[in-house]
């Protein structure tokens, strides 16, 4: 294989919200290239629906302090409070910046950005849900992705589309570039850089039922792990309460924000038992657990593994009246079918397409779906990647967006905070990486820079076994869904860990059909499944060790949060085939951990 070499001061891996935001800022100060395995507009940011949070107070009183506290509480006190405060206080500025870039937010009658309620976001004085999620119908992520890509075109940002990054080049302990394969030709390319920003998104494809794209295979996290660097808080993976039954396709929390409710087989609005104050708008971990309990106790619809999400106007209006929900002007909150159609057009389209169900006439069958990685590549607030529990910075290496763990989401992310995370920390990454690059020299490239990338591909191409990659992937997904999902036990997690290790061994004996150079997705899919196996192993090992229940990590055998022993972040390394775990303290500033009630 021939190798082509390129040189840019800053190289950004991934072209979703974080990568594009980083590109807009880095390219102002330094020569910059964005490398993406997809065309940028195919990135998974585009699938985000409900909104981006910021305490603008456009509809009712709101404050960044409340947003901060809600996020700390939502994180089950595992989020670093300095980082959370930074993000929530930056939120209004960043949302206005997106608007100034042309993002078509929905509008209030006064012409301001329209906001809706979302799970866990409250008025801290009344405890009632607050309208904090800025939205463009139910396609807010699509609008953010399109707007950022449009601005990148306007600003002549350099893209390498459909280039799969396979390896990070490290020289003298510093990031010095990446190695990528060009899908169209199969050629390897070395990108020599002073600074590298990892923005490759999440890894929901570890689980059987997921809202995540096929592309969400944890590439950036797996690459970093292979360089001997740790991953943080990998046991915390969010299951979104409302995925379309069996398909896992996301149904935005905005449905409940607009007044939709979850209903069990007995016709009960069961969330009032689990979260008496905010009910269906509790945090996602709380709602997903409640749904599992309902199903376990036989109240799934027809005894099956799903419940109903009901946004029919008559249902919305009935419960809005019971809850005493009002409009901003104090009149009772009531909706019509037409209004629901206008506010949630895409999810209505999904339900009609995939289920033949019209949500304004029938309830939607839903089940929790693997959705979001709270953990990832450890960084500080400047998005610099950290090498250990002492906070040692890896020079030249940055991470932002879902593949990073700052940590602003802790043990459970609040809805709408992911899009906020992307733009806030994407911008920080672009600014800091460019600043670093302008003051640094290129490290000399090693002669064998592409060798490790090539050896990974060769191992797959030359593998002589008869295992099908798809079979291994299916077994991993099933095992992780069953045993490292919403509820976990010691025994189950140990079995999952053993199983993942067995699958990793079997992965050494795969057979792929395509040995060509042109657009070899057989090869790259196999490489991606290898990433997922590494991520699954770290996830199961990190989860097994944490003997408490916190946020998305919920154990039958340790049902309580244990701040005495476990108010700390996990760091996991892979060394000599084993997972090594260490811990670091959570940054606490203003908020003492207390019991979490919704």
């Amino acid at each position: 294989m021939s190798v082509k070499t390129h040189q840019y001061e800053v190289v950004i891996v991934g072209a979703g919200g974080a990568g594009l935001m980083a590109a807009l800022y880095a390219s102002q100060k330094a020569s910059t290239a964005v490398i993406s395995k997809l065309y940028p507009t195919r990135s998974h940011t585009g699938a985000a629906q409900g909104g981006i949070s910021a305490a603008l107070g456009n509809i009712e009183e709101d404050r960044p302090e409340w947003h901060t506290y809600d996020t700390v509480k939502g994180s089950d006190y595992l989020g670093d409070q300095d980082a959370i405060e930074f993000m929530c206080f930056k939120a209004p500025e960043l949302v206005y910046e997106l608007e100034h870039m042309g993002l078509p937010f929905d509008r209030t009658p006064e012409g301001r950005i329209l906001q809706r309620p979302f799970g866990g976001h409250t008025n801290n004085e009344t405890g009632k849900p607050v309208r904090r999620a800025c939205h463009a119908a139910d396609r807010t992520g699509h609008m953010i992705l399109q707007t950022l890509y449009q601005q990148c075109i306007k600003n002549d940002v350099t893209f390498f589309d459909e280039f799969q990054v396979l390896d990070l080049i490290m020289v003298n302990g510093k990031a010095a570039g990446v190695v990528a394969i060009e899908l169209a030709t199969g050629d390897l390319h070395v990108f020599h850089a002073k600074a590298v920003i990892m923005a490759t998104g999440g890894w929901g494809r570890v689980w059987e039922i997921t809202s995540n794209a096929y592309a969400y295979t944890g590439d950036g996290a797996a690459i970093v792990l292979r360089k001997g660097l740790p991953l943080e808080d990998m046991e915390f993976f969010q299951f979104h309460p409302t995925g379309i039954y069996k398909l896992g396709i996301l149904i935005t929390e905005g449905v409940r924000g607009e007044g939709g409710v979850l209903i069990n087989d007995k016709g009960e609005r069961f969330m009032e038992k689990y979260a008496p104050h905010v009910k269906d708008l509790a945090s996602r971990d709380v709602v997903s657990r409640a749904m599992y309990i309902e199903m376990k106790e036989g109240r799934g619809i027809n005894g099956q593994r799903y419940l109903y999400l009901d946004v029919r106007p008559e249902t919305v209006n009935k419960y809005a009246k019971i809850d005493g929900r009002t409009n901003p002007d104090g009149t009772p909150y009531q909706v019509t079918a037409e209004e629901i159609l206008h506010k949630l057009p895409d999810i209505i389209d999904f339900c009609k397409t995939y289920l033949g169900v019209d949500p304004v006439k029938e309830p939607m069958p839903v089940q929790p779906t693997a959705h979001y990685a709270m953990g990832g590549i450890p960084t500080n607030v400047k998005t610099e990647v950290l090498a250990d529990e002492k906070g040692t910075v890896v020079p030249g290496l940055y991470a932002a967006g879902e593949n990073a763990c700052v940590s602003v989401h802790g043990a459970n992310r609040l809805g709408t905070n992911s899009l906020l995370d992307l733009v806030v920390f994407g911008k920080e990454a672009g600014v800091h990486a460019a600043e670093y690059a302008t003051g640094a020299a290129f490290e000399p490239l090693p002669g064998d820079a592409a060798d490790f990338a090539r050896s990974q591909l060769d191992a797959i191409l030359n593998s002589k076994g008869n295992e099908r990659v798809a079979d291994i992937a299916a077994e991993m997904k099933h095992e992780m869904m069953d045993k490292v999902g919403v509820f976990r036990t010691e025994e189950g997690m140990q079995e999952a860990l053993n199983k993942i290790r067995e699958l990793k061994e079997r992965f050494q004996h795969i057979h792929i059909d395509d040995r060509g150079k042109t657009f070899n997705t057989d090869l790259l899919t196999a490489w991606e499944i290898g990433n997922l196996l590494d991520i699954a192993e770290v996830t199961a090992a990190s989860a097994l060790a944490r003997k408490e229940s916190r946020g998305a990590h919920s154990r039958d055998d340790y049902p309580k949060r244990d701040d005495q022993n476990w108010l700390k972040h996990t760091l996991a390394w892979r060394r000599d085939g084993e997972i090594e775990l260490r811990y670091k303290p959570v940054v606490l500033t203003k908020y003492e951990p207390k019991e979490r009630v919704y």
Binding site: T41, I153, K154, D522
Partner: protein, 237 residues
């Protein structure tokens, strides 16, 4: 049930010409064409090559010709097709073949970039640093064309584009429309000038293929007509 897909295959490293291959397998009526392609790739023939990512009609990766019509494989359920007959799956037309169902999208994105598909307003920002105001009615004016996911289904269904790749095509016009009719934008005149040129809207022959092909149900022909009218009248109402 059993279903047979007749797929146009092409591997530039081996084939002088594209050819059809047939795959018969078990499937559910609710399976998407994408699910069937995934099953074939996973269990029968790993060399089958196609793009996909989100699998629910948002990312725009999997536009292809299914029974002669441009669709997203992830939004086309078997139960909406006649499965008693073979289902034909081919790459979208009018762009160079790369391999099997993958085509080279470079021309498509180059055409998109020609129409200034980005927000332009160099006037001072509001002094309080907050949003530019826009009424719900002004926002509604261009809502339909904000839905575009750049899948290429419309442009590669257009006979004019098939005949001449320099025509910017319906997708680029949709994305120009999104800004031309945005009350906050200030570059409508420049875009209209581009679209009044020889690669622009007047190449459209109103075949309606684009509107029929759009998986986002954008009324593309209407958007093109509005752009034409704006050029002719010089007005944006």
């Amino acid at each position: 049930m059993q279903v047979t897909l007749k797929i146009l295959r092409y591997n530039p490293e081996k084939d002088a010409q594209p050819h059809y291959e047939r795959y018969t397998l078990d499937a559910e009526p609710t399976d998407r064409i994408l699910d069937v392609l995934e099953k074939i790739k996973a269990h029968e023939d790993g060399t089958l090559t196609f793009r996909r990512s989100c699998a629910h009609g948002i990312c725009g990766s999997c536009a292809m010709r299914i029974n002669g019509r441009n669709r997203l494989a992830c939004k086309t359920l078997l139960q909406t097709l006649d499965t008693s007959k073979e289902i034909t799956v081919e790459p979208i037309l009018g762009l160079p073949r790369v391999k099997d169902l993958v085509v080279d999208m470079t021309t498509f994105f180059d055409n998109y970039k020609k129409v200034m598909p980005y927000f332009v307003n160099d006037e001072p920002l509001p002094e309080d640093g907050r949003e530019r105001l826009q009424s719900p009615e002004e926002r509604e004016r261009f809502d339909d064309t904000t839905k575009c996911i750049l899948c290429g289904a419309c442009t590669t269904a257009c006979p004019t584009f098939w005949a001449d790749n320099s025509y910017v095509g319906p997708s680029a016009i949709v994305n120009a429309h999104r800004f031309i009719f945005d009350s906050r934008d200030r570059a409508a005149a420049e875009r209209l000038k581009i679209l009044a040129g020889e690669s622009g809207v007047f190449r459209c022959r109103t075949a309606f293929n684009c509107t029929e092909a759009c998986p986002r149900e954008i009324d593309i022909t209407k958007a093109i007509a509005e752009v034409k009218r704006a050029i002719i009248t010089g007005r944006l109402d």
